[in-house]
Amino acid sequence: MTVAIPIVVEPDRQLGEPAAQHRLRVLLEQGLPLSPRPWQILAEQSGLTEDEVMTCVRRWQAEGLIKRLGLVVRHRRLGIQANAMVVWDVPDTRVAEVGRRLARETAVTLCYRRPRRLPDWPYNLFCMLHGTRREWVLAELATIVERHGLGDIECRVLFSQHAYRQCGGRYAREGDA
């Protein structure tokens, strides 16, 4: 069983003081300044050089701490409002295989295994489906179920009704930055 344990990424002592790297992390969570030299601005704010900032970012990308770098889109603002969390109660012996199959579907944007919380919550596999209309998302789900022979697995579709908050992670401690 693979359990995700937070990995503490050790600051690299070659790249400025560790506190400066931490400040950079906190600043990056707010996004890049939209300016011709964004890394230079972040360098001034964090106490690193522009080169050190870019080296840090490339290293975090290589290590997988940064999954992607670019435009973070709010889908709902674009009208992609049918956001469905589909939850499945998959026998433990099949969950990894089903998870990998679902993850390969282009309509599936996230796919995670999570613990059951019996008796209240029997579902152990979660995936997200997005679309412009509810009925299209349901049709897509039906296609996926058919294609992978998942008809015997209990699933529930939890459409979102309202987004009270949708924003990036804030991992910094209070008072940081």
């Binding site: 670019g70 999570r114 992670g169």
Partner: protein
């Protein structure tokens, strides 16, 4: 109200379609982007500013891997539907909450709680649980099969919708 697909011209769409990932890490990244898209650096920056002010972009920057960038988990509570907004406001006021959605289920509020480390995460959840007065379902990720949040925008569908 969501924006309309027609508010976004070809250049906006190419920016969104091409750069949800792979923003170059170089001295003038928007200059490099502009060269690839056949426009100017100033134009790229102006477009990004507009998209950000419209709320279409939450930011331009990195998406960190939750499982490595500290601790986080998906949580849910079942609250009376008539008091949902008030409970949602309490959740939003808690430190570390970065997503909070109402969903169609007895567990009708779903949120992601983040913290610098696991003990702080649990402390934040316990504080919030006391404030809410209802049990919080804790659903940490055990295994990720797909952790890429970028998503092709169905422009044609949006124009028809």
């Amino acid at each position: 109200m969501p924006c309309q697909a027609r508010d976004f011209d070809t250049l906006d769409r190419r920016l969104i379609d091409s750069y949800q990932r792979g923003l170059p890490v170089c001295t003038r990244p928007f200059h490099t982007v502009a060269e690839r898209l056949g426009t100017s650096e100033a134009e790229v920056i102006a477009r990004l500013e507009r998209l950000q002010s419209l709320g279409v972009l939450s930011r331009v920057g990195p998406v960190f891997d939750h499982t490595r960038a500290g601790a986080s988990l998906l949580a849910a509570v079942a609250v009376p539907e008539s008091e949902r907004d008030a409970f949602a406001a309490l959740i939003n006021a808690a430190p570390g909450v970065n997503h909070n959605y109402a969903r169609e289920h007895d567990y009708n509020l779903w949120f992601v709680m983040t913290a610098p480390d696991a003990p702080e995460l649990e402390a934040r959840l316990e504080t919030l649980e006391v404030r809410l007065g209802v049990p919080v379902l804790r659903l940490p990720m055990l295994e990720g099969f797909h952790i890429d949040l970028s998503f092709p925008i169905p422009w044609a569908e949006l124009e028809d919708a």
